[in-house]
Protein backbone atom coordinates (compact mmCIF):
# COMPACT_ATOMS: atom_id res chain seq x y z
CA UNK A 1 0.00 0.00 0.00
CA UNK A 2 1.46 3.36 -1.04
CA UNK A 3 1.47 6.70 0.77
CA UNK A 4 -1.39 7.77 -1.50
CA UNK A 5 -3.55 4.88 -0.28
CA UNK A 6 -2.83 5.78 3.35
CA UNK A 7 -3.53 9.47 2.68
CA UNK A 8 -6.88 8.67 1.04
CA UNK A 9 -7.96 6.58 4.04
CA UNK A 10 -6.83 9.22 6.56
CA UNK A 11 -8.48 12.19 4.80
CA UNK A 12 -11.70 10.27 4.17
CA UNK A 13 -11.87 9.07 7.79
CA UNK A 14 -11.33 12.59 9.16
CA UNK A 15 -13.86 14.12 6.77
CA UNK A 16 -16.52 11.44 7.45
CA UNK A 17 -16.18 11.76 11.22
CA UNK A 18 -16.18 15.58 11.06
CA UNK A 19 -19.53 15.50 9.25
CA UNK A 20 -20.98 13.28 11.99
CA UNK A 21 -19.53 15.59 14.65
CA UNK A 22 -21.19 18.60 13.00
CA UNK A 23 -24.47 16.65 13.16
CA UNK A 24 -23.97 15.91 16.87
CA UNK A 25 -23.29 19.56 17.68
CA UNK A 26 -26.13 20.77 15.43
CA UNK A 27 -28.53 18.35 17.12
CA UNK A 28 -27.63 19.63 20.58
CA UNK A 29 -28.01 23.26 19.48
CA UNK A 30 -31.35 22.63 17.73
CA UNK A 31 -32.73 20.63 20.68
CA UNK A 32 -32.28 23.67 22.94
CA UNK A 33 -33.87 26.05 20.43
CA UNK A 34 -37.39 26.79 19.22
CA UNK A 35 -36.72 24.46 16.29
CA UNK A 36 -36.54 21.38 18.55
CA UNK A 37 -39.76 19.80 17.16
CA UNK A 38 -38.06 19.58 13.77
CA UNK A 39 -35.77 16.88 15.15
CA UNK A 40 -38.88 14.70 15.46
CA UNK A 41 -39.77 15.30 11.81
CA UNK A 42 -36.27 14.80 10.42
CA UNK A 43 -36.06 10.96 10.49
CA UNK A 44 -39.28 10.52 8.51
CA UNK A 45 -38.32 12.88 5.70
CA UNK A 46 -34.81 11.40 5.40
CA UNK A 47 -36.18 7.84 5.18
CA UNK A 48 -38.75 8.86 2.58
CA UNK A 49 -35.94 10.50 0.59
CA UNK A 50 -33.87 7.31 0.81
CA UNK A 51 -36.82 5.33 -0.57
CA UNK A 52 -37.42 7.87 -3.36
CA UNK A 53 -33.76 7.80 -4.39
CA UNK A 54 -33.93 3.99 -4.69
CA UNK A 55 -37.09 4.06 -6.80
CA UNK A 56 -36.51 7.03 -9.11
CA UNK A 57 -35.86 5.87 -12.65
CA UNK A 58 -36.37 2.20 -11.81
CA UNK A 59 -38.49 -0.17 -13.96
CA UNK A 60 -42.15 -0.97 -13.25
CA UNK A 61 -41.07 -4.23 -11.60
CA UNK A 62 -39.29 -2.33 -8.82
CA UNK A 63 -42.30 -0.06 -8.28
CA UNK A 64 -44.60 -3.11 -8.09
CA UNK A 65 -42.34 -4.68 -5.46
CA UNK A 66 -42.31 -1.35 -3.59
CA UNK A 67 -46.12 -1.27 -3.76
CA UNK A 68 -46.31 -4.78 -2.31
CA UNK A 69 -43.85 -3.79 0.42
CA UNK A 70 -45.87 -0.68 1.21
CA UNK A 71 -49.11 -2.64 1.57
CA UNK A 72 -47.36 -5.21 3.78
CA UNK A 73 -45.76 -2.49 5.89
CA UNK A 74 -49.07 -0.68 6.25
CA UNK A 75 -50.93 -3.81 7.35
CA UNK A 76 -48.29 -5.43 9.54
CA UNK A 77 -45.89 -2.63 10.62
CA UNK A 78 -43.20 -5.35 10.56
CA UNK A 79 -39.75 -4.75 9.00
CA UNK A 80 -38.75 -8.37 8.42
CA UNK A 81 -42.07 -9.41 6.89
CA UNK A 82 -42.01 -6.33 4.62
CA UNK A 83 -38.49 -7.19 3.44
CA UNK A 84 -39.50 -10.80 2.74
CA UNK A 85 -42.60 -9.85 0.76
CA UNK A 86 -40.77 -7.09 -1.16
CA UNK A 87 -37.85 -9.33 -2.11
CA UNK A 88 -40.17 -12.26 -2.96
CA UNK A 89 -42.27 -10.09 -5.30
CA UNK A 90 -39.10 -8.63 -6.88
CA UNK A 91 -37.44 -12.03 -7.35
CA UNK A 92 -40.66 -13.69 -8.53
CA UNK A 93 -41.36 -11.01 -11.11
CA UNK A 94 -37.73 -11.16 -12.31
CA UNK A 95 -37.87 -14.94 -12.70
CA UNK A 96 -41.09 -14.91 -14.71
CA UNK A 97 -39.68 -12.10 -16.82
CA UNK A 98 -41.95 -9.15 -16.03
Amino acid sequence: MTTSHWALIAILAIAAFSIRLVGLIAGDVIRKSRLAPLLDDLPGVIIVSLVASSLAGQPVLTWCAAGAALVTAWLTNNVILTMLVGVAVFAGATLIGI
Partner: protein
Protein backbone atom coordinates in the same frame (compact mmCIF):
# COMPACT_ATOMS: atom_id res chain seq x y z
CA UNK B 1 -27.62 -3.78 23.20
CA UNK B 2 -28.30 -7.43 22.35
CA UNK B 3 -31.78 -6.52 21.12
CA UNK B 4 -30.33 -4.06 18.59
CA UNK B 5 -27.60 -6.51 17.56
CA UNK B 6 -30.15 -9.24 16.77
CA UNK B 7 -32.72 -6.97 15.13
CA UNK B 8 -30.23 -5.59 12.59
CA UNK B 9 -29.05 -9.02 11.32
CA UNK B 10 -31.34 -9.20 8.22
CA UNK B 11 -30.17 -5.75 7.13
CA UNK B 12 -26.55 -6.65 7.85
CA UNK B 13 -26.84 -9.53 5.37
CA UNK B 14 -27.76 -7.08 2.61
CA UNK B 15 -24.91 -4.74 3.58
CA UNK B 16 -22.49 -7.67 3.40
CA UNK B 17 -23.28 -8.15 -0.30
CA UNK B 18 -22.40 -4.53 -1.08
CA UNK B 19 -19.39 -4.75 1.19
CA UNK B 20 -18.10 -7.76 -0.70
CA UNK B 21 -18.50 -5.95 -4.03
CA UNK B 22 -16.71 -2.87 -2.70
CA UNK B 23 -13.84 -5.04 -1.45
CA UNK B 24 -13.32 -6.39 -4.97
CA UNK B 25 -13.24 -2.85 -6.38
CA UNK B 26 -10.79 -1.63 -3.74
CA UNK B 27 -8.49 -4.61 -4.31
CA UNK B 28 -8.37 -3.76 -8.00
CA UNK B 29 -7.18 -0.27 -7.01
CA UNK B 30 -4.24 -1.66 -5.09
CA UNK B 31 -5.67 -1.84 -1.57
CA UNK B 32 -4.63 -5.01 0.29
CA UNK B 33 -7.37 -6.75 2.32
CA UNK B 34 -6.01 -5.35 5.56
CA UNK B 35 -5.95 -1.84 4.05
CA UNK B 36 -9.61 -2.28 3.11
CA UNK B 37 -10.31 -3.40 6.68
CA UNK B 38 -8.62 -0.29 8.07
CA UNK B 39 -10.56 1.95 5.67
CA UNK B 40 -13.92 0.32 6.41
CA UNK B 41 -13.51 0.48 10.16
CA UNK B 42 -12.06 4.02 10.20
CA UNK B 43 -14.43 5.57 7.64
CA UNK B 44 -17.56 3.39 7.93
CA UNK B 45 -19.42 5.09 5.09
CA UNK B 46 -20.26 2.80 2.18
CA UNK B 47 -21.18 5.25 -0.57
CA UNK B 48 -18.34 7.61 0.39
CA UNK B 49 -15.78 4.81 0.23
CA UNK B 50 -17.03 3.61 -3.14
CA UNK B 51 -16.91 7.07 -4.71
CA UNK B 52 -13.55 7.97 -3.16
CA UNK B 53 -11.94 4.76 -4.43
CA UNK B 54 -13.50 5.19 -7.88
CA UNK B 55 -12.22 8.79 -8.09
CA UNK B 56 -8.85 7.63 -6.81
CA UNK B 57 -8.67 5.08 -9.61
CA UNK B 58 -9.63 7.75 -12.11
CA UNK B 59 -6.43 9.60 -11.29
CA UNK B 60 -8.08 12.38 -9.28
CA UNK B 61 -5.94 14.13 -6.65
CA UNK B 62 -6.16 12.36 -3.31
CA UNK B 63 -7.77 15.32 -1.57
CA UNK B 64 -10.35 15.68 -4.34
CA UNK B 65 -11.18 11.97 -4.27
CA UNK B 66 -11.57 11.98 -0.49
CA UNK B 67 -13.69 15.13 -0.44
CA UNK B 68 -15.92 13.87 -3.27
CA UNK B 69 -16.54 10.76 -1.19
CA UNK B 70 -17.10 12.66 2.04
CA UNK B 71 -19.55 15.08 0.40
CA UNK B 72 -21.84 12.14 -0.26
CA UNK B 73 -22.17 11.75 3.48
CA UNK B 74 -23.66 15.18 4.14
CA UNK B 75 -27.01 13.61 5.01
CA UNK B 76 -25.33 12.41 8.21
CA UNK B 77 -25.55 15.94 9.58
CA UNK B 78 -29.33 15.47 9.69
CA UNK B 79 -29.16 11.80 10.67
CA UNK B 80 -26.85 12.40 13.63
CA UNK B 81 -28.72 15.57 14.64
CA UNK B 82 -31.90 13.51 14.92
CA UNK B 83 -30.11 11.24 17.44
CA UNK B 84 -29.72 14.15 19.82
CA UNK B 85 -32.50 12.98 22.14
CA UNK B 86 -31.35 9.35 22.13
CA UNK B 87 -27.77 10.30 22.98
CA UNK B 88 -28.70 12.82 25.68
CA UNK B 89 -27.02 11.91 28.95
CA UNK B 90 -24.73 9.33 27.32
CA UNK B 91 -21.02 9.80 28.21
CA UNK B 92 -19.05 11.68 25.54
CA UNK B 93 -16.82 8.70 24.67
CA UNK B 94 -19.88 6.55 23.98
CA UNK B 95 -21.54 9.34 22.02
CA UNK B 96 -18.51 9.63 19.76
CA UNK B 97 -18.48 5.85 19.31
CA UNK B 98 -22.22 5.84 18.61
CA UNK B 99 -22.01 8.48 15.86
CA UNK B 100 -19.11 6.66 14.22
CA UNK B 101 -20.91 3.32 14.07
CA UNK B 102 -24.20 4.86 12.97
CA UNK B 103 -25.15 3.99 9.40
CA UNK B 104 -28.36 4.40 7.39
CA UNK B 105 -29.65 0.97 8.36
CA UNK B 106 -29.11 0.91 12.12
CA UNK B 107 -30.15 4.57 12.45
CA UNK B 108 -33.40 3.97 10.57
CA UNK B 109 -34.14 0.77 12.49
CA UNK B 110 -33.48 2.51 15.81
CA UNK B 111 -35.78 5.43 14.97
CA UNK B 112 -38.52 3.10 13.70
CA UNK B 113 -38.34 0.87 16.78
CA UNK B 114 -38.26 3.92 19.06
CA UNK B 115 -41.41 5.22 17.41
CA UNK B 116 -43.12 1.99 18.48
CA UNK B 117 -41.56 1.71 21.93
CA UNK B 118 -39.98 4.85 23.45
CA UNK B 119 -37.74 2.70 25.68
CA UNK B 120 -35.52 1.95 22.67
CA UNK B 121 -32.44 4.16 22.92
CA UNK B 122 -28.67 4.41 22.83
CA UNK B 123 -27.96 0.77 23.69
CA UNK B 124 -30.11 -0.44 20.76
CA UNK B 125 -28.34 2.03 18.44
CA UNK B 126 -24.89 0.96 19.66
CA UNK B 127 -25.67 -2.78 19.58
CA UNK B 128 -26.97 -2.60 16.03
CA UNK B 129 -24.13 -0.26 15.02
CA UNK B 130 -21.46 -2.65 16.29
CA UNK B 131 -22.96 -5.44 14.19
CA UNK B 132 -23.17 -3.22 11.11
CA UNK B 133 -19.58 -1.92 11.28
CA UNK B 134 -18.29 -5.45 11.98
CA UNK B 135 -20.19 -6.90 9.04
CA UNK B 136 -19.15 -4.02 6.78
CA UNK B 137 -15.48 -4.36 7.73
CA UNK B 138 -15.54 -8.15 7.47
CA UNK B 139 -17.36 -8.30 4.14
CA UNK B 140 -15.25 -5.59 2.45
CA UNK B 141 -12.04 -7.34 3.59
CA UNK B 142 -13.34 -10.69 2.40
CA UNK B 143 -14.22 -9.17 -0.97
CA UNK B 144 -10.67 -7.85 -1.32
CA UNK B 145 -9.26 -11.20 -0.26
CA UNK B 146 -11.41 -13.64 -2.22
CA UNK B 147 -12.24 -11.69 -5.36
CA UNK B 148 -15.21 -11.95 -7.67
CA UNK B 149 -16.57 -15.38 -6.74
CA UNK B 150 -20.02 -14.16 -5.76
CA UNK B 151 -23.01 -14.71 -8.08
CA UNK B 152 -25.20 -11.75 -9.05
CA UNK B 153 -27.47 -11.72 -6.01
CA UNK B 154 -28.78 -8.26 -6.93
CA UNK B 155 -30.77 -9.95 -9.69
CA UNK B 156 -32.77 -11.86 -7.09
CA UNK B 157 -33.81 -8.80 -5.17
CA UNK B 158 -31.26 -8.56 -2.39
CA UNK B 159 -30.60 -4.93 -3.30
CA UNK B 160 -34.33 -4.26 -3.08
CA UNK B 161 -34.33 -5.58 0.49
CA UNK B 162 -32.98 -2.21 1.67
CA UNK B 163 -35.75 -0.30 -0.08
CA UNK B 164 -38.37 -2.61 1.43
CA UNK B 165 -36.82 -2.21 4.87
CA UNK B 166 -36.84 1.58 4.60
CA UNK B 167 -40.51 1.49 3.51
CA UNK B 168 -41.34 -0.55 6.61
CA UNK B 169 -39.37 1.83 8.83
CA UNK B 170 -41.16 4.83 7.34
CA UNK B 171 -44.46 3.10 8.19
CA UNK B 172 -43.29 2.83 11.79
CA UNK B 173 -42.64 6.59 11.89
CA UNK B 174 -45.98 7.60 10.37
CA UNK B 175 -47.75 9.88 12.84
CA UNK B 176 -50.84 10.75 10.81
CA UNK B 177 -51.99 13.21 8.16
CA UNK B 178 -49.59 15.91 9.40
CA UNK B 179 -46.75 13.84 7.86
CA UNK B 180 -48.41 13.60 4.45
CA UNK B 181 -47.32 16.91 2.89
CA UNK B 182 -43.69 16.92 4.14
CA UNK B 183 -43.23 13.27 3.13
CA UNK B 184 -44.78 13.77 -0.32
CA UNK B 185 -42.58 16.84 -0.80
CA UNK B 186 -39.45 14.88 0.18
CA UNK B 187 -40.39 11.99 -2.09
CA UNK B 188 -41.16 14.15 -5.12
CA UNK B 189 -38.17 16.47 -4.82
CA UNK B 190 -35.75 13.57 -4.31
CA UNK B 191 -37.23 11.72 -7.28
CA UNK B 192 -37.09 14.77 -9.54
CA UNK B 193 -33.50 15.50 -8.54
CA UNK B 194 -32.41 11.90 -9.22
CA UNK B 195 -34.18 11.90 -12.59
CA UNK B 196 -32.47 15.21 -13.40
CA UNK B 197 -29.10 13.55 -13.02
CA UNK B 198 -28.24 14.82 -9.54
CA UNK B 199 -26.22 12.20 -7.60
CA UNK B 200 -28.48 10.27 -5.22
CA UNK B 201 -26.64 11.39 -2.10
CA UNK B 202 -27.26 15.07 -2.90
CA UNK B 203 -30.84 14.35 -3.99
CA UNK B 204 -31.51 12.82 -0.56
CA UNK B 205 -30.22 15.96 1.15
CA UNK B 206 -32.32 18.16 -1.17
CA UNK B 207 -35.48 16.08 -0.62
CA UNK B 208 -35.01 16.03 3.15
CA UNK B 209 -34.49 19.81 3.23
CA UNK B 210 -37.71 20.30 1.26
CA UNK B 211 -39.61 17.99 3.64
CA UNK B 212 -38.31 19.66 6.77
CA UNK B 213 -39.13 23.11 5.36
CA UNK B 214 -42.71 22.02 4.64
CA UNK B 215 -42.93 20.55 8.11
CA UNK B 216 -41.73 23.85 9.62
CA UNK B 217 -44.28 25.84 7.60
CA UNK B 218 -47.11 23.50 8.70
CA UNK B 219 -46.13 23.74 12.36
CA UNK B 220 -46.03 27.55 12.14
CA UNK B 221 -49.42 27.64 10.43
CA UNK B 222 -50.96 25.37 13.04
CA UNK B 223 -49.61 27.60 15.81
CA UNK B 224 -51.10 30.69 14.16
CA UNK B 225 -54.46 29.02 13.51
CA UNK B 226 -57.24 30.27 15.84
Amino acid sequence: MKHGALAILPLALGAAIYGFAFGILAAQMGFPWWGVAIMSSAVHAGSSQIVAVEQFSGGEAILGAALAGAALNLRYIGIVASLSDILRGVPLRLRLLAIHITGDENWALTMAERAKSPGIGASFLIGSGIVMISVWTGSTSLGALVGSALPDLERFGLGFAFTAAFIAMARGMWRGPQNALPWCGSFLVTGILVLSGVPKAYAIVGGALCGITLSMVLRRRNRCAP
